[in-house]
Symmetry: C3
Subunit: 420 residues, 3 copies
Amino acid sequence: MNTKRGGKIVLHFIADFFVYETAKSVVVKSWSVGIINRVVQLLIILYFIGWVFMHEKGHQLRDTGIESAVMTKVKGLGKFNNHVMDVADYVVPSQGGSSFAVITSMVITANQTQGRCPETEDKFKCTTDDNCMAKLGSNLGNGIITGTCLNTTNGTTGWCEIEGWCPAEDDNVSEKPMKEVENFTIFIKNSIRFPMFNVTRGNFPSSLNQSYIQSCHYDPVDHPFCPVFKVGDILRHINQSLDSITDKGGEIGININWKCNLDYNVMYCNPIYFFTRLDAAFENSVASKGYNFRFAKYHQSEDGTERRMLHKAKAIRFEIIVSGNAGKFSTVPFLINLVAALTSVGLATVFCDIILLNFHKGADEYKAKKFEEVSGVVSESANNRHCEGSQMSIKALEKSSNDSGTFSIGRQEAHSSSNQ
Amino acid sequence: MNTKRGGKIVLHFIADFFVYETAKSVVVKSWSVGIINRVVQLLIILYFIGWVFMHEKGHQLRDTGIESAVMTKVKGLGKFNNHVMDVADYVVPSQGGSSFAVITSMVITANQTQGRCPETEDKFKCTTDDNCMAKLGSNLGNGIITGTCLNTTNGTTGWCEIEGWCPAEDDNVSEKPMKEVENFTIFIKNSIRFPMFNVTRGNFPSSLNQSYIQSCHYDPVDHPFCPVFKVGDILRHINQSLDSITDKGGEIGININWKCNLDYNVMYCNPIYFFTRLDAAFENSVASKGYNFRFAKYHQSEDGTERRMLHKAKAIRFEIIVSGNAGKFSTVPFLINLVAALTSVGLATVFCDIILLNFHKGADEYKAKKFEEVSGVVSESANNRHCEGSQMSIKALEKSSNDSGTFSIGRQEAHSSSNQ
Amino acid sequence: MNTKRGGKIVLHFIADFFVYETAKSVVVKSWSVGIINRVVQLLIILYFIGWVFMHEKGHQLRDTGIESAVMTKVKGLGKFNNHVMDVADYVVPSQGGSSFAVITSMVITANQTQGRCPETEDKFKCTTDDNCMAKLGSNLGNGIITGTCLNTTNGTTGWCEIEGWCPAEDDNVSEKPMKEVENFTIFIKNSIRFPMFNVTRGNFPSSLNQSYIQSCHYDPVDHPFCPVFKVGDILRHINQSLDSITDKGGEIGININWKCNLDYNVMYCNPIYFFTRLDAAFENSVASKGYNFRFAKYHQSEDGTERRMLHKAKAIRFEIIVSGNAGKFSTVPFLINLVAALTSVGLATVFCDIILLNFHKGADEYKAKKFEEVSGVVSESANNRHCEGSQMSIKALEKSSNDSGTFSIGRQEAHSSSNQ
């Protein structure tokens, strides 16, 4: 008896589980609302197709973790201070990485040795030792201030004495910059990888032959695949004259942007180059413009003392900045956006319900149909729930709306009598 | 006749297409359920407004592909081993990039030439040639082990002979580190760009004048825009003493974090600096602490033989790590999150249905209203579908719930009789 | 009177606001549709659990802005051209950063001074000065072409004269590369940080002791935590012979990939290493294979003239590429995906409605139940809205479907009579 009843319950449960439930709909045969509904739905669909999927590629998985390796090689010969300068002289560092400086002019202070000597900067002019004592510990000089004022002769202004590499650098000397830099070329070999899709690409096709690469210069229209960039062309692209950048030195960014749609053939995954003056953010800054750095070459005299040749170099620094991302169809973002799209299409109903329930001729009629009311306090007996009985608790609902955003405004009072 | 009928079908189709369909709702006038419903909806809305939109900026498109260029310049003078050291001496590499080392102490082995000489490390002590033969091919010495043991005199311990740069480096010599490093300053010029929004920013405003930049030191409170960092201040920020870092060398990260809300004026897009000891992950490691490297300066004797001066330098390496992202209002993420929000608000119904259908006084009444049943086997004739006929297939449904998560528990048996 | 009426309206409004509205459902007791419904729902749920949540970690917030610091140290001794080479000789740059080159062979041109001398490249062979005048301004030579052809003797081919560092480099000399490079080891210390979760990790555990690190070599199976990599092992991993890479030089990427699930203990957050030949994208390229660069060591003669020793170095460049991301449970992505999941489960209804309304035995019956029709032109008086009255406007709906994707195909004509 007990198992029989248990079995019955299980059966009941299974039967209930496989019951299919679907929303009951009210169908309104109204041309005006029907057309508005379809137009709103169409707009939503067009938005999703056009913007979310076609423009924003909402159906693709995006790999933004691009891995990149850059090799550069500068070519060109210049003349500075009657010396011929080649790559080994003007490119620092020499290894051909993604960041390097091309020296355009130098202030060279030769034969420095450790010792004591006068400063050269105007900041350190003095007439008495007290002037120099006040500057003890300064980081701005060429050496450690000793506190002594070295006057040339009686009473005239002299310079504070420093301890350090002597003679001190005098960077007021100005040499003409190496203007041949405009004809220098930069060869860039950039290979990238999108780890998510395991796609490896180079910035120029394997089919380019040696002689083309040796002779071509990059041009966005005529030679988009040529990996050789002329410095003069780059300056033109960023609207800078050679003088403006060699005057104080500067930083130029060569951006290699990879934006790949891997739903197409990988052959179409090619980079776009563009150029920026990286210190542009400081263009209007009155302080610390340009780019320069100091380095020294060390020599040893026969007597064993170390000498150095200090170089203050003004340079153009090039930074190869590789960025990009790749997209490929993937179910997860596609589904999320599709569900968002479908759900959004359903939102047309919200808009139409507002019209239908408030501004349409038969609004009351629709309300009566759409909303079935159940009072909070139910007293009818169970067997009373027949057609007539249930009708008693069903009445047209006039409410200020709410869920699903349907708003029916005012007129509640007026109608309450019409339902009965 | 045929075209007339075809036209009629087309008309019918169009009429059907513009029919408007909206969900039929059951309205329950119950204070308890109504209030619960609104409270749950309110919580969901608050969650979305407060967390998703205000905190997580769910309505913004985010550009995480920040492009950055860093220029650094160290200033300061130190004394090491009675030599005054300036920037050209202690900063490696000299070009002022985003990663550089400040040498704080060196072991210098002067006048090395190619040849044969004894090792200096304890690992290579020997008494017989066999001791050294066992170490052939070792990578740990200062030169290639020849297999000979160079004993000073009879029977005492000597050192294995090496072939290479002689004399071998003896790094047990310890010089006092250059403690002036604490007063050195690092000037950082960082310009960034968010390619997605084409926004370029510098780490300090153009309005700062030269004299301010030359005299200020960064302080998070007093000088948040000063781009000059004192090494001592940085050490204080990361709770390290100078001795702890100069003892074995170390790595310090200067993080420049850009977090920009481009819905506001771009003027508010400013970086936050913070400092980390990069080798902190290896703090408790017993092996290979600190940071040091070897480099050589090469000289040529008059007789043409190459000599070198080997430097083993302990240094503080600074890495400027630029990170950040920018957000700006965009329709796609906004819509996705808004749809998620609206859909989630609808989920309040799920919760309230559970209460209403199970724990509320008039639960059975509601079930009867909410669910209209259609039997799987339908035998009534079509014209029977009047009020009474349809009533026959409509009955209160008692089911274990299911779709839309509505659960009505138990009591199926008890009620099945009450539905007639 | 007025306040009484106003109060009544407010009360009415509040009462309306707390009315609870839930969708009216049609329940179909059909085994076939019920089972289909449940199976479709199950598939959708399985998809979300298996793919979106378990595989794609849709419930986690992802930090892709990994911050990384790399320190490297190469060890090993080689012989090139009868000279013993140590770290200070063959690693450029010496500071032990994330990118460095190991020089495997060099063409050394000693004792260059500024002056005039003949070219050495075949491109600059000439018989008359006109040959050389045609090459004025070329960037490909070792110096600036003067336009003079230096013929050895009468009529035989000579070389164009250049101005620059003399004698010109002759890179046809080929020395045997330093083959000991295969035994060199690279020690890598990599510490990373996920700023979003403030998690710092090192690439090897602190518990490794000094002697293990000094003796171990990385192996993916036996020594996965050993941070010392043998160059020969790396070459084996990327299927390259030493000869193939030392012949022209090359670039090798050591990828350190961190993929951390921070829902588990941070101890399980360890990197995976893999190796790539970075110039693989140019493998089939006929042009500019390999990797080489030029640098010079400068000397000063007693008479003050500057001399240099030009090195053209073929090298293996190593790039340590750190990538990775970390995920941790977060409510926002979890909720978005959960809502997408729940909404998608509801989409099963769409599929089942199509079956139910078109291909099922009692399709008409279901249509009649699911859709309640309201005509656009409503003329019935309000008091007519009783059971019979409403029945008049309810009739089985035959429409080509539409909203929520339910399609009921054809048969409209046949039925229109059955609806009375």
